[in-house]
C-alpha cells in the first residue's frame, strides 16, 4: 500500500494535467477540424469530432478571396514596420533608463511607470481627433507610427530591468577605449540582452497581430483592413447560415503566424524573463 500510493498520486496528477491540456487546446482543435468540414457537417445536430472525408474546399475558397489575401498582406506589412520601429525605440529608451546617469532620470522614469495606469482606450478619442486633423484617417500611419515613440511602457520596463543587470565595468572600459554611448549601446549592451529583446519582440508581435480596436477605428476602407478587422466581417449576424468552414479556414490561417512565433519564442516567455523583470 505504501509503495502504490505515490504511483497513484502521480497517475492522478497526469490525468488532471492531460484533462486540462485537452480542455485548453480544444478551441484550437475545433477550429482546425471545422475548417476541414463541409457546411452541412459544421451545422449538424450530432457531434462530428473529425470530418469523415476532410476537404480543403474552405481553404481554396478563402484563398481565392482577394480581400482576405490583401488583409493578410496588410497585417504582415503593418506588423513588420511597426515592430521594427517600436522594438528599436524601446531599446534606445531602456538604455537611457539603465546605463546613463542624467538629471531628471528618476522623475521621467516614474512618469513612464505612471502611464501604465492609463488605459489606452482613455486616449483614443483625442488621438482620433488629432489623426483626423492630420488627414491620417484611412492610412496606415495611425497604427504604425505611435509605436515608434517607444510605445509600451511595460516593455521599456522589462528591457530596462535586463539592461540594468549588465555589470557597469563593461561600459566603463569601453569608455576608456574611446567609445561613445551609441557605440556602447549597439556593440556592448544590445548583444547582451538578446533574450529579453526576443521576449519583447514576441509580445509586440502578438499585440500588433491581434490588435483590433485601433485598426478598426483608423483604417476605414476594406483595402487597408488588417486580418482581425477583415475576419470579423466574415461573421455576419444578419445571415441565418454562417459559412463556418470558410470562417474557420480564415481563422486557422490567421493564427498560424502566432503559433509559429510562440513555438520559437516559448523558451524566452515561459522561462520567466517576464517574471524576473517584475520583481526587480
Amino acid at each position: 500500500m505504501r509503495t502504490i500510493w505515490p504511483i497513484l498520486k502521480r497517475l492522478g496528477l497526469y490525468f488532471l494535467l492531460t484533462g486540462a491540456t485537452v480542455v485548453m487546446s480544444f478551441p484550437l482543435f475545433w477550429m482546425i477540424s471545422s475548417s476541414l468540414k463541409t457546411l452541412e457537417e459544421t451545422n449538424s445536430a450530432g457531434i462530428i469530432w473529425l470530418p469523415k472525408v476532410p476537404t480543403l474546399a474552405a481553404y481554396i475558397s478563402i484563398l481565392q478571396n482577394p480581400d482576405f489575401l490583401r488583409s493578410y498582406f496588410n497585417s504582415v506589412f503593418y506588423t513588420t514596420l511597426a515592430l521594427m520601429g517600436t522594438l528599436f525605440s524601446i531599446a534606445v529608451v531602456a538604455y537611457a533608463f539603465s546605463r546613463i546617469q542624467w538629471p531628471g532620470r528618476n522623475f521621467v522614469f516614474f512618469l513612464m511607470l505612471a502611464t501604465m495606469m492609463i488605459p489606452p482606450q482613455a486616449l483614443i478619442v483625442p488621438q482620433y481627433v488629432f489623426f483626423n486633423k492630420l488627414k491620417w484617417i484611412g492610412t496606415f500611419n495611425p497604427i504604425i507610427l505611435p509605436g515608434f515613440f517607444a510605445g509600451g511602457a511595460a516593455m521599456v520596463f522589462l528591457l530596462r530591468q535586463a539592461m540594468a543587470q549588465i555589470p557597469k565595468e563593461l561600459d566603463e572600459s569601453a569608455f576608456v577605449d574611446g567609445a561613445n554611448h551609441i557605440q556602447i549601446f549597439w556593440e556592448v549592451v544590445l548583444p547582451l540582452v538578446k533574450a529579453p529583446l526576443a521576449t519583447v519582440a514576441t509580445f509586440l508581435f502578438v499585440g500588433l497581430w491581434n490588435s483590433l480596436l485601433a485598426p478598426l477605428m483608423y483604417l476605414q476602407t476594406v483595402k487597408l483592413y488588417t486580418l482581425p478587422v477583415y475576419v470579423a466581417t466574415l461573421y455576419n449576424i444578419n445571415l441565418t447560415v454562417q459559412q463556418w468552414p470558410t470562417i474557420m479556414a480564415a481563422a486557422v490561417l490567421t493564427t498560424v503566424p502566432l503559433m509559429v512565433v510562440f513555438f520559437f519564442a516559448q523558451r524566452f516567455i515561459l522561462d520567466g524573463v517576464v517574471v524576473s523583470g517584475l520583481k526587480g
Binding site: L81, I100, R105, Q121, T255
Partner: protein, 384 residues
Amino acid sequence: MVKNPYYDAILMAAAAVLFIVGSSLLIGFAARLIAKVLGASRRKQENTFAGYLFASPWIVGFLIFVLIPMGFSLYWSFTDYRVVSNAAPKWVGLENYLQLILKDTGFRASVVNTLYLTAVGLPLQMGAALLLAVLLNQKMRGERVFRMAFYLPVILGFNTAVLLAWRLMLNTGTGIINQIIRGLTQIFPPFGYLNRALIFVQELTSAFFLGLSNGKFNLLIKVWEAGFPAENRIPLWVQSPMWSKMSVILLMIWGCGAMMLIFLAGLKNIPKELHEAAEVDGAGPWKRFWRVSFPLLTPYIFYNLIVGLINAMQIFEPIYVLYRDNQPLVPSTISMVYYLWQASFRHFEIGYGSAISWLILLLILAITFIQFKLQDRWVTYDLY
C-alpha cells in the same frame, strides 16, 4: 489622393524616424546647454546630453500621444463637440458627466456589465490560474509541454479569428460545448444535476446584475419563481441576455495562462524548508497549502488582481466580435470600452466620448488605489 498606401506608409515611417532623431538631438542639446549654464562638469554635461538624447523618443511620444491628448479630452469632456458637424466645441459645463451618471441607461448598463465581468470573471480566472500553477509545480516530466498548452491561449488571446472559433463552439443548438453537455448528461445522469444547478446559480447572478443595470428586478423574481431548471435545460451562451456575459467569462478563464506563470514563479520561490518543517509538525498537504504556500503567494495574488482588474475593465474585442449589431443582446453585454467606442466612433460625439473615457480612467484609478490601500490587510511581504 492616395496612390499607394504601402509606399506612403514607408515614406511616413522614414519621416517619423527623422522627426524623432531631430527632436531628440534638439532636446539633448538643450539639456546640455542648461547643464553647462548651471556649471556642471564636462562629464556630467555629456551624460545629460546622452541621457536626454536616448530618452527623448519616449518623452516626445508622451507629449504628443498622452499628455496633450489628455488635456484636450479633459477640455472636450466639458463641451458638446461632434467631429462631423465641423462646429467648434461648445462649452456645456458638467452636462456630459451628469447625463452619463444620472440619466444614460446605456452607460449604466455598461458599467454594471463590466462590474459583472470583474466580480464574477476575475475570481474564476485567478482560481483557474492558481489551480493550474499548483498542478504544474509538482516536479514531473513533460512540464514544459503542459506549460506551453496552458500559455498558448494567452498568445491567441482575443484575436478575432479565435473569438469566432469560440462563437462556433458556443452555438446553443449545434455548438460542440452544449452537445458535450447533452452527451455527458445522457451517459452520467448526476452530471445533469450539476449542469442544472450551475445554470440556476448563473442565471440568478446574471438576472441580479441585469436588475442592477435597469433598476427592475422582475427578471430575477421570474428566474427564482421558475425554480430549479428543467431536465432538458442547456446553457444559452451567446443567445440569451442572461448568458451573454458568461461566454466572455469563459474566454477570460481560457486565457488564464499569464496569471498562471506569475503564480508558478511565486510557488517556486517558496523555500522548501518551510514545507519540510510544516510536514515534521504534522501538517497535511491541504493545511500546508493554506498555511504555508497561500500567505507567501499573496504578493503574487495582489499583482494578478491589479493587472486582472485593469484588463477586465478594458475588455472590448469579445464584445465587438460576438455581439456587435446583435440588438437584443447589446444592453446585456456592452462593456465600458465598447460603449466608449460606440459613442465616439459610431455617433461621433467626441465631447461625450471624452467624458466617458475620463470616467473610465477615474474608475480604474480609484479601484487600483483602493486595492493598494487594502493590501496591508492581507498581503504578506515579510519574507521578501
